[in-house]
Amino acid sequence: MSQLAAFIDKKRQTKPILSMTHVVYGYPTVQESLDWMARLMKEGVDFIEVQFPFSDPVADGPSIVAACHKALEQTLDVETCLAQLGKLAKDFPESRIVLMSYLNPMYRFGLEKFAKRASEENILGLILPDLPIEQAVDYRAACEKYQIDPVWLVTPVTPKDRLAMLASQANGFLYCVARSGVTGHSVHEDKAHENNHHTTSLDNYLAEIKQHANAPIGVGFGLRERAQIEQLIGKADIAILGSALLDAYNRGGQEEGIKLINALFH
């Protein structure tokens, strides 16, 4: 069994839903982002999802885009980032780390090396939202070889047969995007029509996924209220908190962020 899935199963024995909190590496500085990650792990979040910034993050909304661009005012290095995350993984053995980025920085780093080095640093999962499974033959082979889970995304508009295919390929967990659009609050939100005939409600969507997925289920995009998290209990294993946490951090630093996590999960 995948280490990631095993960890989730074990934690789920005692918790109705697990937390995955997102941090942009290098925002506002490398040290501050590492401090923030350490704090989150100390506070007992189950996962941190660390985003290694890319200049053109097309799946992200304004909060995360701005943070990535701010972070890139420094020169960021993948190898350094991996080593620093490895140290965090050792210091906080109760939590786990997944790493998210876009394809190009990792393609330049070397996808095989990326899988190898991330695995060596005890990172359990990798998320590359602009790498579709069809184009990922070599990357999947590398992940298999180094025993790290590539995390695939499904969305409310993923066709049924494709959803079944992606769900069946998931090992660590399957990332279920809760709605159309990009991460966080965005000017584009009002352009999505979620409840017409193309899309099913979140409950039906998650039920459909459950039929096909052996792996645990994570849900992200647009989560910012306790009611949303409560709605997921019994239907998903992990609630992923991204832009809402970044917005809180921007308002009042670590304390405001922790306050949000406590309000949502405890």
């Binding site: 200049s55 499904v154 017409n196």
Partner: protein
């Protein structure tokens, strides 16, 4: 040019967020059907002719030919399209496809505003809602185009992230599409992006080369010996070159923007001189201008339409295999070429197209007198009036601007409130 599952050699492909999968599949299917449907093709040719004024002429330039004393110089007059550039060929094609798919809204990115205007024109004509993303810096540099887009009924959204230019506008258009895919079509302006966009845009632009095949035979009894086109995203180059791909005697030269110099950030040279590196971003694999860590970099050109960090996967592939020769022209060479065409032939070229001119003018004197070259004049230069005035240091232009400003009614704030 047919792709292998969206790939041209190592370039192209489809690297998009999962949320866009269904929309992309829909476009793939719709395009595949449309390009084989005689009714669609008939409508396309009708609109090209009746709305855009095709076919565009192939113009012999006797004065320039004598001036250089080498090759016989011909211009393919894409500047004579409605809206003044080849952009119209693509926009008409995709516009008809949008209708066919039953979508009601189009999204586009624009740098100089040429593609934005072309999109806004077609959206107005086809009754489509239209949103144009444009970098805030480009809006400042190209305000007249923004003005016309708005007058045409489009919503122009300034993009304030990153370098606030074309690359950021493209990112933001993709983000909009991720939310609005159910009723919106992303009407990309060049032969870049995820499959099938490169192939589709090249298909619609290939009318350029198809016409040159007929016109060259009719006017000088052979195919051209050499073709020249500027390469921004690569759509006008694909349009001229691809119909001649199998004619091995026809040489092809693509001209990139050398800008102010060869330092990273000063130019938009992705293919010549090994300045770009393979990368995967904005939905596709190609040669990008990027740093060691794979972060995309800023670019520069005096021609906003060539100021782009990536390039068509089709052109990248043909350059790699040696079928196309790539070169570049610097900003000052471009202004000189523009000025020469004005003086010798009475034609006002776009600064983008002036790159193709500059590239060809360097070679022309050394080519045999009986050889024929065709330069793609992708657009007209009216839009560049401010930039050219500045570049040639026209003395009276600042005075004109000052006087004009002094006489401009200043109660526009009240007008805005009334309109709101």
């Amino acid at each position: 040019m047919k792709s292998e599952n969206g790939f041209y050699g190592q370039f192209g492909g489809s690297y998009i967020p999962e949320i866009l999968y269904s929309s992309q599949q829909q476009i793939l299917t719709a395009f595949e059907e449309a390009k084989n449907d005689p009714t669609f093709l008939a409508e396309l040719h009708k609109q090209w002719q009746q709305f855009s004024g095709r076919p565009t002429p192939l113009t012999y330039c006797e004065n320039l030919t004598n001036h250089f004393g080498g090759a016989q110089i011909y211009l393919k007059r894409e500047d004579l399209n409605h809206s003044g550039a080849h952009k119209m060929n693509n926009v008409i094609g995709q516009g008809l496809l949008v209708k066919r798919m039953g979508k009601t809204r189009v999204i586009a990115e624009t740098g100089a505003g040429q593609h934005g205007i072309a999109t806004a024109l077609v959206a107005a004509r086809l009754g489509l809602e239209c949103t144009i993303y444009m970098g805030a810096k480009d809006i400042e540099r190209q305000y007249p185009n923004v003005f016309w887009m708005k007058q045409l009924g489009a919503t122009v959204v300034p993009v304030t992230t990153g370098a606030q230019t074309l690359r950021d506008a493209l990112d933001e258009a993709l983000r909009d599409w991720s939310s609005s895919h159910e009723d919106s079509h992303y009407l990309i302006g060049t032969s870049c992006g995820c499959a099938p966009f490169p192939e589709m845009v090249a298909f619609f632009q290939s009318v350029i080369g198809d016409e040159v095949r007929e016109q060259s035979m009719a006017q000088f009894g052979q195919f051209p010996d050499r073709l020249y086109a500027c390469v921004g995203g690569g759509s006008n180059a694909c349009g001229l070159f691809l119909p001649f791909l199998d004619d091995k005697d026809v040489e092809m030269v693509g001209v990139e923007a050398g800008g102010k110099g060869l330092e990273l950030g000063e130019h938009s040279i992705r293919l010549s001189h090994n300045l770009g590196q393979p990368g995967i971003a904005q939905g596709f694999a190609t040669m990008f201008l990027q740093d060691q860590a794979g972060q995309l970099q800023e670019t520069h050109s005096i021609a906003a339409g060539l100021d782009y960090v990536g390039v068509s996967p089709i052109i990248a592939h043909l350059a790699e295999t040696g079928r196309i020769k790539m070169t570049y022209a610097m900003d000052d060479e471009v202004i000189a070429a523009c000025t020469l065409l004005l003086k010798k032939e009475g034609i006002i070229p776009a600064l983008e197209s002036s790159h193709a001119l500059a590239g060809a003018f360097k070679d022309a004197p050394n080519l045999p007198k009986d050889s024929k070259i065709v330069i793609n004049l992708s657009g007209r230069g009216d839009k560049d009036i401010f930039n050219v005035a500045k570049a040639v240091q026209d003395e009276t232009f600042p005075q004109f601007l000052t006087d004009y400003l002094a006489s401009y009614p200043t109660n526009h704030v009240d007008n805005k409130e009334q309109n709101a």
